[in-house]
């Protein structure tokens, strides 16, 4: 703890602007890239504000150690892990209890879109690495992980999407960053399936009245829908591009012909 964190007295100014200038319903700037890594079967990278997160997928592959293999479906494993340098104070590389819990709820958030029963005796392994952490990493990790699953060519029902809503200075806002999370009043991370509207991750801490909770949940769902569009664009960017090139190749061949 070289630097003691100090929080400002107000998180929203009189004009309704948050510390980084966002309005209550605004997402942080998001940059998504699919297929970032060479050696993984599928991968994706997301920046959301100062968050920098890599997700990679291996599988379906032979489950190892073998006694974990299941005769009727694939074993889905998920590891949410923070780099030692991702936080203000260095984090020990050994997984904390928080990381164990987030690995579990992330796996449960992703599982509903997979057809695990199609790949008996195998494992599907999802690795999420938080390279830099600035609030909302579990949701951003899920966003990247579902793209990595798609990039790995693993059949999925839908692209899981996720973002949190929260309460700061008594207002319900979207997509808390680290300061808003720590100095704020409540945090509500949500993951959902955009097609069906089903919620696959829901956690909450802080304090919400029933009405505040409903407002926050709806705001998170709206945020999820926006991120869902960005996810599809990122996929298209990777997979449409070559096709267009191929298309152009065809055209040029036609010309030549």
């Amino acid at each position: 703890m070289m630097y003691l964190e100090k929080y400002p007295e107000r998180l929203i100014d009189e004009e309704g602007n948050r510390l980084d200038g966002r309005k209550f319903d605004e997402l942080r700037p998001i940059k998504i890239e699919v297929g970032t890594l060479e050696k993984a079967d599928g991968s994706a990278y997301i920046e959301q504000g100062k968050n920098k997160i890599l997700a990679a997928v291996f599988g379906p592959r032979e489950a190892h150690p073998r006694h974990l293999a299941m005769p009727d479906k694939a074993l889905l494993r998920c590891r949410y892990h923070m780099a030692p340098f991702s936080t203000n104070t260095r984090k020990s590389p050994a997984p904390s209890r928080r990381e164990h819990e987030l690995s579990k709820v992330t796996r449960e958030a992703l599982a509903p879109v997979l057809f695990l029963e199609r790949f008996p005796r195998t494992s599907i392994d999802v690795f999420i690495e938080i390279l830099q952490s600035d609030g909302g990493t579990r949701c951003a990790g899920i966003v990247a992980a579902s793209l990595a699953l798609a990039d790995a060519g693993i059949p999925i029902r839908d692209l899981v999407t996720a973002v949190s809503a929260g309460k700061i200075d008594d207002q319900i806002v979207l997509d808390l960053d680290d300061i808003e999370d720590k100095a704020g009043q409540a945090d509500l991370p949500v993951a959902m399936l955009p097609q069906s509207g089903s919620i696959t991750l829901l956690q909450m801490d802080g304090e919400f009245s029933k009405d505040e909770f409903e407002t926050a949940l709806n705001l998170a769902i709206e945020g999820c829908k926006k991120i869902s569009i960005m996810q599809k664009e990122a996929l298209r960017e990777k997979y449409a591009a070559p096709r267009e090139e191929a298309h152009e190749d065809e055209k040029s061949q036609e010309k030549e012909a």
């Binding site: 209890r97 579990k104 709820v105 509500l188 509207g197 919620i199 909450m204 029933k210």
Partner: protein
Amino acid sequence: MSSAFMEIASKIKHKQIADLIKREKRLDGRTLTEYRDIEILVGPITKAEGSAQVSLGKTKVLVGVKIDIGEPFPDTPEDGVLTVNSEFLPLASPSFETGPPDENSIELARVVDRGLRESKVLDTKKLCILPGKKVFVIFVDIYILDHDGNLFDASALASLVAVITAKIPNYEIEDGEVKILEGLQDLPVQDYPIATTFAKIDNSLIVDPTLEEESAMEGRLTITTKQNGNICAMQKGLEGTFTVEEIQKAVITAQEKGEELRAKALGVRNG
């Protein structure tokens, strides 16, 4: 029993449970939002600074609170420390194993911890003895003795009762040293969080599932409410999903059940 046979038996049981729930009934005759009999025993462990044993039907959880004087965390130098730990004792279930806590045990401890912490059950400032140097450290240890379903609510309730009935010694500061005096005082209790857990089975929600019902459960949702009815913690578990409507309905039920169970907790505390 062959594993194939057990799987068929389990499917039959699952169908039976689901069919009943469709008709708003349960194997043990309860309504969908009814808890099993709740028994709360205050202070069974006299060597602990606080303790409580809670039974939900045949589920039995013992919580002990030990209190020590230690250092605060560097980023909260003026706050006492609260830590929650849980052990799924191998004697509580044939499915529990010895060894360090697994992810289920960690999740349970963290959900109980979140309920206590986020409801601000204790005024942690008042647990500070010498800022930056000495604070009270509260260890809440959850001991699962018998697992017949709904460990979350039983553990949260037992933890609450153990904490709100725990005592710390009177003390004074002499030349920068803590001197323990005669007599005990209550912890600085501020709220009474109650967790209510829902099992989703074939698109219906029930509260306080038994182990048998849990075997048919697709999704789990725990909602913790404060004395003022507000929500202070939520946790969705398992691979099933929830609709927004289900969640909204669950919040209302959790508020009702919270009041019901809170009254019991306050009753045993005062009684």
